[in-house]
């Protein structure tokens, strides 16, 4: 019976895919959705290519998925991915459909799948990936993801015991995945970087105590939040030894050397943002584990340019206006952006436009997350003005005042449409507009208004 159901589901999914493509429509979710509707155990029953790589984690999973898939394709593999589809069950089912023929036989060399960390419990036990890459685990939206311990438990419980794990050895949370079940594991990490510290400067620093004896951990070095290397002064617990190690990254580096298995190899560095260095390291470790030799990995990477979609720059006279994605309701993503913006050279105006677009229409956004985000960075004297926008602007004002931003530098705008009337027109080198995925359009029209205000002032 289940064979018939599977065959019907597959035929329906494939026909839908073909139909949607003929109509020029996005065919990356509906076929999988239909397949799962007809055959609820579709993910388990459908045949898979010999190589299935799943990528999950709080940040960087899209970048890592795309890079792994692109390098494999560049090296001659036929690959199915959910690049255009969702990272929950329907998107995964669609990608698996594209990796088999009408008769259900695998016709691709590999599937490379981005998997939502929370939805992983409905995917990993059935897809049974050859490799699972976990970029990191951080606090994210409390409504959906609760806390990183919860996501850790979901992944640890639902990852098959024989899946090979590629883990960030510098993440004191996700590096402990698979420990209990004894999964085969490899770790990647960065030995030292320009800017390393041994004390935390972030409000959120989870995993600061020993998982065995609860003593406060001593950091050998710390990058941000809980990313770094630590040991317990009481019981000897320490961060994982890494199999793929970058010895040192300078802030102006264009390449980096990875030590693995007694040999070293130098790769082009596609981005110097620390997050992206970790992403690239995850890609190198995974591809090497798959069996690509370092020269092929290097060749594959050298033709990739990481398009940093978070940033768009426009010059008006002497002022650069930059839009920077800063995921709302995510304290870690926002802290990373605030850190980055504050440490850019020159005097800047920072416009906050992260108020959730849907919540403002139908609800009142829970704003407590801003007390886990490091707005203290904005107390820097080079931040000459902060404009808080949206219905929660007065909450941001209180947060900024408590963070030490002087009163006279703060402006509140209940509507983003008014921000250009409050902005300074002189005395700064750049303007940063921080927006959420849901406020992209709002931020873009705000940027246009700000640009014309600054153009008027420059004339």
């Amino acid at each position: 019976m289940s064979v018939v159901r599977l065959w019907v589901a597959l035929a329906l999914a494939k026909a839908t895919y073909r139909g949607l493509r003929l109509l020029g429509r996005n065919a990356s979710n509906l076929p999988g959705w239909l397949a799962l509707h007809v055959c609820p155990d579709f993910l388990e029953l459908i045949a898979k290519p010999e190589l299935v790589v799943c990528v999950t984690g709080t940040n960087g999973k899209t970048t890592v998925t795309n890079m792994i898939a692109d390098v494999l394709v560049g090296q001659g593999y036929s690959v199915s991915t959910n690049r255009l589809g969702s990272n929950i069950a329907p998107g995964i089912a669609s990608s698996l459909t594209n990796a088999v023929s009408w008769s259900g036989k695998p016709n691709k060399d590999a599937c490379v799948l981005e998997v939502d960390e929370r939805a992983s419990r409905l995917i990993l036990p059935y897809v049974r990936p050859t490799y699972l890459v976990v970029t990191n685990l951080f606090r994210d939206s409390l409504k959906r993801n609760a806390h990183p311990d919860y996501i850790f438990d979901v992944l640890d419980t639902y990852t098959p015991d024989d899946t090979r794990l590629v883990l960030n050895g510098d993440d004191l949370c996700s590096s402990r995945l698979g420990e209990r079940a004894g999964n085969p594991r490899v770790f990647f990490g960065i030995e030292s970087m320009a800017g390393d510290r041994t004390d935390s400067i972030n409000l959120v620093s989870d995993y600061s105590t020993c998982p065995r004896c609860h003593t406060g951990l001593a950091y050998d070095h710390l990058r941000y939040h809980h990313i770094g290397r630590a040991h317990c002064p009481a019981c000897g617990f320490a961060s994982q030894d890494c199999d793929y190690v970058v010895e040192r990254v300078e802030s102006d580096a264009t390449s980096f050397t990875v030590a693995h298995d007694g040999a070293t190899h130098t790769y082009p560095l596609v981005s110097t943002v620390t997050f992206n260095i970790y992403n690239q390291l995850a890609v190198i470790a995974t591809l090497t584990e798959i069996g690509l030799d370092p020269a092929r990995v290097e060749a594959g990477l050298s033709i990739l340019a990481v398009v940093d979609s978070r940033l768009g720059r426009t010059q008006v006279g002497d002022v650069t206006v930059v839009q920077a994605m800063s995921k709302g309701q995510s304290c870690v993503s926002t802290s990373r952006t605030l850190d980055f913006v504050t440490h850019e050279p020159g005097r800047k105006v920072v416009v906050l436009a992260m108020d959730d677009w849907y919540d403002r229409k139908t609800s009142v956004e829970y704003i407590g997350w801003i007390y886990d985000a490091d707005f203290e960075f904005l107390a820097d004297p080079d931040v000459v003005q902060v404009i808080a926008c949206g219905p929660r602007c007065y909450d941001y004002e209180v947060r900024l005042l408590l963070a030490g931003v002087p009163h006279e530098r703060i402006q509140c705008c209940e509507s983003e449409a008014d921000a250009h009337t409050r902005i300074l027109t002189a005395g700064m080198d750049s303007v940063y507009i921080l927006y959420d995925t849901s406020t992209y359009d709002v931020a873009m029209s705000m940027k246009a208004r700000i640009l014309s205000t600054l153009e008027g002032a420059a004339r």
């Binding site: 419990r121 606090r139 409390l142 409504k143 959906r144 609760a146 806390h147 311990d149 919860y150 979901v154 409000l203 959120v204 600061s208 105590t209 004896c213 609860h214 003593t215 406060g216 009481a234 304290c331 139908t362 609800s363 009142v364 829970y366 704003i367 407590g368 997350w369 801003i370 007390y371 886990d372 219905p391 007065y394 909450d395 004002e397 209180v398 005042l401 408590l402």
Partner: protein, 236 residues
């Protein structure tokens, strides 16, 4: 003035840390004691003026019950003596109950200081805005949790909910106010979001009730209150 923050390394989820950092701003002369997981609590041997515990993971809840287990009688004595304010936010209130029922049906025995028990239901997450009355003051807040609490006996509530959920979906009673113990499922910067509540708390502690950036704090509160009163609001 002594403020004891219990186990801030783990009881710091969802912006709750802001509550004690804010109290520190309100009471610049107070001694803030941050008791680590490996420390003996200060309240064990001497009176403190305020004990605070914030939101934590479910695993941390079970660890905290074990850590506080030897001090159950002392905590009972402190609650009865009425010289110490105890403030519990988020799921910290569940530690003080009789037990927590896990998803698999097993139980973790609680400290037994309040007649209520909690029932976890992960992966189902309950999210809700809360607005309600606490002794003539309108309290605004948010809860996001895997569990509900069920009173085993009549319990004096902290907030009568006008919008949102109480301790569980079948009650309008949110939180517990017993003597000088204030416990609420509301998480995050409760004291910053509710200036009237903070003023009362400071008065109970015998401190001046001036708030840092008082005008701006009230403006944010009033704006949120007006939005919360819009009809047909989505609560989650």
């Amino acid at each position: 003035m002594k403020i004891e923050v219990l186990y801030p390394e783990v009881c710091c989820l969802y912006g709750d840390k802001a509550n004690w950092l804010y109290l520190q701003r309100c009471l610049p002369d107070a001694e803030v004691i941050r008791t680590a997981l490996t420390d003996t609590p200060r309240f064990a041997a001497e009176d403190v003026d305020l004990i605070y515990i914030g939101s934590m993971s479910e695993a941390s809840q079970e660890l905290l019950i074990d850590l506080l287990w030897p001090y159950r009688d002392r905590l009972r004595e402190i609650m009865d003596a009425g010289r110490t304010t105890i403030l519990l936010t988020g799921n910290a209130l569940e530690l003080f109950g009789t037990f927590i029922r896990r998803e698999d049906g097993t139980r973790k025995e609680g400290l037994g200081l309040l007649p209520l028990h909690a029932v976890r239901q992960a992966p189902t997450r309950f999210n809700s805005l809360i607005m309600g009355d606490a002794d003539g003051t309108t309290v605004v807040g948010y809860t996001s949790r895997f569990s509900h609490a069920y009173p085993d006996a009549d319990l004096p509530g902290l907030v009568t909910v006008q919008m949102g959920v109480g301790l569980n979906p079948d009650t309008r009673i949110e939180g517990i106010h017993s003597g000088r113990l204030y416990a609420t499922y509301i998480l995050g910067p409760l004291l910053i979001a509710n200036p009237d509540v903070t003023k009362r708390l400071l008065a109970e502690l015998g401190a001046p009730d001036d708030l840092p950036f008082e005008a701006e704090t009230y403006r944010a509160y009033e704006k949120k209150l007006a939005e919360m009163r819009r009809p047909g609001l989505a609560l989650d």
